[in-house]
Structure formats: C-alpha cells, structure tokens
C-alpha cells in the first residue's frame, strides 16, 4: 500500500470516510496527503459543510415554501378524515 496518493485517490478516500472508518494504512496515506495539499484540505472541509447543509435541508424547506404549497388541500383533508372515520367504525 503506497503512502503517496493522488488527489483523485484522496477524494475517493474522503468520500469513503464519510460513511465508514478507513483502515489504518489508508487513513495514514490520506493524512499524509492532506498535510501537503491545500486543495484536498478544502475539499474535506467542504464535504462536511455539504453534510451539515443536507442534514438541515428538510428544516430549511419547511421555512421557505409559500403557505399554499405547504398545506394539505381541503378536499384531500376531508377525504382522509372520512376514510379514517370509516375505518374507525369497522
């Protein structure tokens, strides 16, 4: 396992590391590369920013859609209510 990796390989590893721990040697190779490559250091930070943003996504959408687009249409609301009532009574 080589210690000198390319940015392309580093990007692959950083993506992998987002979902599972890297094995020791790969982690070391990545650390070594990051110590020397500011582009990949930025990439690493940006991956985390994207993750933080994605996690907040649903809350963000909650706030930004106009009220009409955010409400269950009245007919649907009534339809569901009667469906529930019918089920409840059986």
């Amino acid at each position: 396992m080589k210690l000198m990796i390319s940015c392309k390989e580093a990007a692959e590893m950083m993506s992998e590391a987002q979902d599972q721990s890297l094995p020791f040697m790969r982690r070391m190779a990545l650390k070594f590369h990051l110590s020397m490559c500011y582009g990949c250091r930025r990439y690493k930070k940006q991956l985390q920013i994207i993750r933080d943003l994605a996690r907040g996504y649903l809350t963000g959408i909650e706030r930004t859609k106009p009220p009409e687009a955010r409400e269950l249409p009245p007919e649907t609301r009534e339809k569901i209510k009667s469906a529930l009532k019918n089920h409840h009574n059986h």
Partner: protein
C-alpha cells in the same frame, strides 16, 4: 372530543390527527416525492396505517415522530419500487464522471476554492435552497437518490443498498460521484458567485 389513551399518552381522535399533523406530513412527503398527487396519497396511507397499528404505538416518541416514521417507510417503499425500473447503464463501474475533475496524474484540474460558508446561516436563506435543489437535480437519478437517502434521510448504507437494489460498491461510486459533482455545482453557483 373523544381521546384515546394509548401507551399512557392521550392522543386526540384520529380524525383530528389530520388537522393536527396533516400539513406537516404533506410538506415532508411533497418535498421527497415532488408530486402533489403522490404526497396526498402517502399522507392518506400514513394516517390509515397509523390507525391500524395504533396499539403498536409505544409512546416512547411523540405522535408526530411516530407518524413521520410511518411516512418515511412509505416513501422508501415507493423509491424501492421505482428503483427496479432503473436504467442498467447507471450501474457501471466506469469512473468517467469523476475523471472529468482530475488530470492524468490525479491532480485537481481546478483546485477547490475557499468557501465562506456558515451552514446555520445558509439554512435560513431561500435562495440558497433553490441553488442546492437545482444542483441535486443535476445529478443522475441514482446519484441523487443515494445522496438524498444518505445525507438527508440519514439512512445507513446497507439499507440504502436494499432500497436501491445495488451493491455496496455501486453505492459508494454513486455517493462519491454525487459529492464531487454537488460540491462543484455549489461552488460555481453559490460560493463563488
């Protein structure tokens, strides 16, 4: 108002659930399915499923959390059914998309630039979400789904593999491509703009 006592919690008459939680579930479903018809159907199915399994409600979470849990499963089932129709060419091992970003020696063709980013501030900005959605929309179907399930829904990778019917390697490739492309799109359309 008749109330049902389940697992030590007073919950309102199921018919009132619709008033209480209907809009919230609808917004969630609409955002994930992008179809008003589908979203309405899913909300209805969710309420019915909740009614049927009301005795299984343990009371450990709030009613809202419980309902969202049921809705999430409906959405996942829907994605799973539609994934079976995926184009096979989506699932190849070629790295062509990611290759576009690196030169022959594996260096960045264009170094990532510095972002001035405060996630908690961005979360409040409508314009940012528009850009974010557009960028996710530019990914391939599988990449968008993999990214959304992993990063937005926070689902574990082995479960995503089952939902999308792909191998862990294919999932990893899709996630990697999604991240590289999304990062670039956000950089070009927001952080560098």
């Amino acid at each position: 108002m008749t109330e049902t006592k389940v697992a030590g919690q007073q919950i309102p008459d199921p018919a009132l659930w619709v008033d209480e939680y209907g809009d919230y579930l609808y917004r969630y479903a609409l955002q994930r399915t992008r179809s008003t018809q589908l979203a309405e159907d899913m909300v209805q199915e969710t309420f019915l499923a909740a009614l049927k399994s009301i005795d299984k409600f343990s009371g450990k979470s709030s009613v809202k959390t419980w309902l969202i849990g049921i809705l999430k499963h409906k959405i996942i089932d829907h994605i799973r059914k539609n994934s079976r129709l995926q184009n096979v060419s989506e699932i190849t091992g070629d790295d062509q998309t990611v290759d576009d970003f690196f030169d022959k020696s594996g260096h960045w063709k264009k170094m990532p630039s510095r972002w001035n980013a405060n996630p908690s501030e961005l979360l409040e900005q409508d314009e940012f979400w528009q850009v974010f959605e557009d960028c996710v929309g530019r990914l391939s179907n599988q990449q968008a789904e993999a990214f959304t399930l992993r990063e937005i829904e926070d689902i574990k990778t082995d479960e995503i593999c089952k939902v999308l019917n792909i191998t862990p390697t294919n999932l990893w490739v899709s996630l990697h491509r999604a991240r590289v492309r999304l990062r670039k799109c956000l950089e070009e359309n927001w952080f560098n703009g």
